[in-house]
Amino acid sequence: MAMSGGLNFAVLPPPVCISVRPRSVVALAAAEGTPETAERRARSLYEVLRVRETATAGEIKAAYRSMAKRFHPDVTAGRGGDDFVEIRRAYEALSDPAARARYDLSIGRWRQGACGLSGRWETDQCW
């Protein structure tokens, strides 16, 4: 049930953010009262796909497929459409080398704040 719910808004810093504003509006209008934990909000695209940040393109594709097989509404009898939308978004970003690079940069920057002044290699160790 870890993947249920699925309205994961206001997640990412702007450069790769997927339509930040409309999504939060959707969330506003729709998800009032739904228990959204802080932990879920902060999930990175890598976490959504359950891969390491160092995953290769092939690994990302394979992860997307196996996630699709578990969370696609066809196999979950119509439930969890949002989970798949989220998985799909993560896959779209991470399977495109340019978008992935931008995203990496953005989370790198974000983590720099959290971990103090450090290079990217060190931020990786944060995980």
């Binding site: 719910g5 409309p22 939060s24 959707v26 998800a31 497929r65 969890g80 495109d96 995203y103």
Partner: protein, 645 residues
């Protein structure tokens, strides 16, 4: 919180101990996104109950909700077989039904042991009967092609359904034996069958519904259970109007459409299954691993031509791109008929029954010649048209190919477009799958294989059964059936064949969901006002790929209100589109508070299409009544929230 909550809370624990059938739905609603509307008030009540339960029992049983959901999930799998969706392919000319029998897909046969049945409905006196009669109705005679072409039967429903009388396809259908009348004003065409020398009117939906009732009865008798859920295959080029009409016809026949599946995607699912089985045999290929195989699926039947590319690995088939158009055996037949008899049209202008008979005979002869040309280089046509004229001539394959050059050119264009859309070169394709009746035409085979630079086509699929088999597989997968041997361990991730977007100032079309986007999907775009102090805006939703709205299909419209007062170009209106796995489109729009990402007032959620007939008129009427006062426009790209693409 409603006032009655305290009272409900007293009964809630009891209700929780004995979950009613409604519970699982409410549970899923509770835990998943609420972008979907609450299906009914009952669910709303349940939802509140559950909230109450969780409040009251938080300390000892925080996971009541989850465990309930699991229990009911088990119940579901036990009863699932009763609800197992069957696959139906209603073709322009032929139709078939298939079902997952617990181990594999089985095609049902009619009383004459045919798996592929002619699609038509015969109108007689006060009854109408279709081809699929079976079981108790076995004494019902099978009509010969000659009778089907007598004007008393309606066929080619698939080419007529959901089209307006301005549609060229409807106009081209006027040379069919039954009456197709058009007034050219963008409304439903008038169709009628000859009953007791009177043209009796009907509609394509009605005809399809009658036909589906017969199919349903036939399947129910054979499977000895009631049939409710179906997966129906449709052409790629079907717009949402056509889809709605098909769904409506199903509803009239008492069938619930679980999925409308573009034909090549059904084939893709079958391909995914075959690939996975192959892989399991050859290696212990784990989930998601194994090499990815790319296939091009070319499907051409009597009415439609579809092309799709799919990438398959580990039983998951991802549709990369789809292209389709209304082109098929009917067009080939028409070309041949006009070639054989250049004044073909004049033959039927007065709809004399003798002339209709002659036309029928010529149609049968031409069809037969086309079939034989798939294996012969020339055919002899000998037909007595009954009115004193006899046709005796030889038709060569080269001649046939020449008169159908336009058809082959369109096929070629579709394949090239599809390859370009999927960013694939011929070398990237591992398999070329040819399905549909017209894929037997030598010229078409060589054309498709040539464009994909392949020597031979993929083997192991029956060209006439692949789509319906895929539909039955999808029916089993989407009904929640699992198979211990892993034969149902697969999935097709569908894509939208047409872009969806809205009209902007000046009549331009701005897509919000681009074509070939994987579904389910949710995308949004911010628009802005075109007038100073504009407080309302029209959201006019279109489907299609034309740059201007006139080239696309109007799905519906609604007004966004409560836009904050601001100079033009500064207010922000968010338009979000959502397509769920069942392909339902919802448009969600509203104005934002200035300079924030918060809604100014409640958003509007509209399920599309909202329109029925005369949609061409609506667009004109909107422009005439409102001019550009309620127009929206795009905002510069740099101000648009960026999207990952």
């Amino acid at each position: 919180m409603p006032l009655w909550v305290p009272e409900r809370s007293q009964v809630a624990p009891a209700a929780c101990l004995s979950p009613s059938p409604e519970a699982p739905r409410a549970l899923s609603l509770f835990s998943s996104s609420s972008f979907l509307p609450l299906p009914n008030s009952q669910c709303l009540v349940w939802r509140t109950d559950l909230l109450v339960i969780s409040l009251f029992r938080m300390a000892e049983q925080p996971y009541t909700v989850a465990s309930d959901s699991e229990t009911t999930g088990d119940d579901k799998s036990q009863s699932a077989f009763h609800d197992l969706a069957i696959g139906i392919e209603v073709g322009t000319s032929k139709c078939s039904i298939a079902v997952w029998n617990g181990a594999q897909v089985e095609l049902l046969r009619n009383t004459r042991k045919q798996k592929s049945m002619r699609s038509y409905v015969m109108f007689k006196d006060d009854t109408s009967s279709g081809e699929a009669s079976s079981g108790g109705a076995s004494n019902k005679t099978a009509y010969e092609e000659k009778e089907i072409l007598s004007g008393s039967a309606i066929f080619n429903m698939k080419r007529l359904i959901g089209r307006a009388d301005t549609d060229p396809i409807v106009h081209a259908s006027k040379n069919l034996p039954f009456v197709v009348q058009t007034l050219g004003i963008g409304v439903k065409p008038f169709i009628a069958a000859l009953v007791n020398n009177v043209w009796r009117s009907t509609t394509p939906e009605e005809v399809l519904a009658i036909f589906l009732v017969e199919l349903k009865t036939m399947a129910e008798v054979q499977l000895k259970r009631l049939i409710r859920n179906v997966v129906l295959t449709i052409p790629v080029s079907f717009n949402r109007f056509q889809q709605i009409r098909v769904e409506r016809a199903c509803a009239m026949a008492g069938l619930h459409v679980l999925r409308l599946m573009p034909e090549p995607t059904a084939v893709a699912l079958l391909y995914a299954q075959q690939q996975q089985q192959q892989q399991q045999q050859s290696l212990h290929g784990g989930m998601g691993s194994g090499c990815e195989k790319v296939a091009l699926i070319f499907n051409m039947g009597a009415g439609y031509c579809d092309v799709a590319t799919t990438a398959t690995a580990g039983g998951v088939s991802q549709i990369k791109a789809m292209q389709g158009c209304t082109l098929g055996g009917e067009d080939i037949l028409k070309n041949v008929l006009y070639h054989l008899l250049p004044n073909f049209d004049s033959l039927y202008s007065n709809r004399d029954t003798n002339k209709i008979r002659s036309m029928g005979l010529l149609r049968i002869a031409a069809q037969d010649a086309i079939h034989r040309l798939s294996t012969q280089s020339s055919v002899q046509i000998n037909v007595d048209l009954g009115d004193g004229t006899k046709m005796q001539r030889v038709l060569h394959q080269s001649e046939f190919e020449e008169v159908n050059r336009n058809v082959f050119e369109i096929c070629e264009k579709l394949i090239k477009l599809c390859l370009a859309d999927s960013k694939l070169a011929a070398e990237d394709i591992n398999d070329v799958i040819l399905v549909g009746g017209c894929s037997r035409i030598p010229k078409i085979r060589s054309l498709v294989l040539g464009l994909c630079k392949k020597e031979k086509e993929y083997e192991g699929m029956d060209a006439l059964e692949a789509a319906v088999t895929g539909a039955a597989l999808e029916g089993a997968v989407a009904s929640g059936i699992t198979d211990p041997s892993g034969s149902l361990d697969m999935l097709t991730i569908q894509a939208t064949p047409l872009s969806l977007g809205i009209r902007v100032h000046g009549g331009g079309f701005v897509p919000i969901i681009q074509r070939n986007t994987a579904i389910p999907v949710r995308k949004s775009t911010i628009f802005t006002t075109t007038q100073d102090g504009q407080t309302e805006a029209l959201i006019v939703v279109y489907e299609g790929d034309g740059k201007m709205v006139e080239e696309n299909h109007l799905m519906g419209y609604f007004k966004v209100t409560a836009i904050p007062l601001a100079p033009k170009g500064t207010a922000e209106i968010s338009v979000c589109m959502d397509i769920d796995a069942a392909n339902t489109l919802r448009v969600f729009a509203g104005a934002m508070m200035l300079g924030t990402d918060r809604a100014n007032s409640p958003f509007f959620e509209v399920r599309m299409p909202t329109l029925d007939d005369a949609h061409g008129w609506c667009a004109q009427a909107l422009v005439k009544t409102h001019g550009s006062a309620l127009d929206l426009t795009t905002i510069p790209k740099e101000l648009q929230p960026q999207k990952v693409q």
